[in-house]
Amino acid sequence: MSRSRFARHQRQTIVSGILSLVMTLVVLQLWLLTATMNAYLGADESILLPAALASAVCLLLNLGLLRYIYRLDR
């Protein structure tokens, strides 16, 4: 059996919850990317850096959740 401290059905629930969080953040990033591309093509430079930082924060959150998934299986 797996050595995880959680039972399989518990891990399934945890992964489903994490997946929904990750999906929400990815959709937010997609929206940021399309809005930023529109601004870039229209020569509006004001939002480029804040949008990039926001996307990086989303990535960091996602990486944190991914790390938790790896630890879950250990």
Binding site: S2, T36, N38, Y40, A43, D44, A52, S55, A56, N62
Partner: protein, 182 residues
């Protein structure tokens, strides 16, 4: 529902515990519930990879913008003589690069407008329709206001890039371009 408990693990043919199995066997489990768990876990990993790609895309836009700002200002170039274009007439010219076409329209005696010819939807060339005071994109029936370059209908949402013009004597010069979001 399956009679087998969700915690039941089928023992692999070699008799070893799941945690001692090789990676490929753990990634392709025998039991349905475990397979569902693995599939969801791997999909989550793929979504994080997608998140990484989006973040790289954002960074790429920032870098591209930085490089664009570092390039020298656009050249001043003579396009035509005022006498060459009748009122209501138009002229296609290349600016700022040889492969970038733009369109110049003479609206009245002294009023000239010029825009990048690329439609802001999918880059088809726009065609001036002076009698309708608009620029028409034949690919997806987009249209832009001739005097401002702003979208009037169809798929485009951004105005056309405007070419800044100056007239010295009877000569028309392109001085630069102005991108806009609204």
């Amino acid at each position: 529902m399956d009679e087998r408990d969700s915690q039941t693990m089928t023992i692999a043919p070699d008799g070893r515990l799941d945690s001692d199995q090789p990676r490929w066997r753990r990634d392709f489990p025998i039991d349905g519930p475990q397979d569902e768990y693995i599939a969801r876990r791997d999909f989550t990993k793929f979504m994080v990879l997608t998140s990484f790609a989006f973040a790289v895309g954002q960074l790429w836009i920032v870098v591209e913008n930085f490089l664009r700002r570092r390039t020298a200002s656009l050249p001043v170039r003579e396009i035509a003589r005022l006498d060459d274009i009748p009122i209501g007439g138009s002229l296609v010219f290349n600016y700022p690069e040889a492969h970038q076409s733009a369109v110049l329209v003479r609206l009245d005696e002294s009023h000239l407008v010029a825009y990048d010819q690329k439609c802001t939807h999918l880059s088809c060339p726009v065609i001036p329709r002076v009698e309708e005071t608009r620029l028409h994109c034949p690919c997806h029936e987009g249209s832009f206001d001739l005097t401002t370059g702003r979208p009037l209908g169809g798929p485009p949402r951004r105005p056309l890039t405007r070419v800044i013009l100056e007239t010295h004597g009877r000569r028309i010069y392109a001085m630069g371009v102005e991108g806009r979001t609204v």
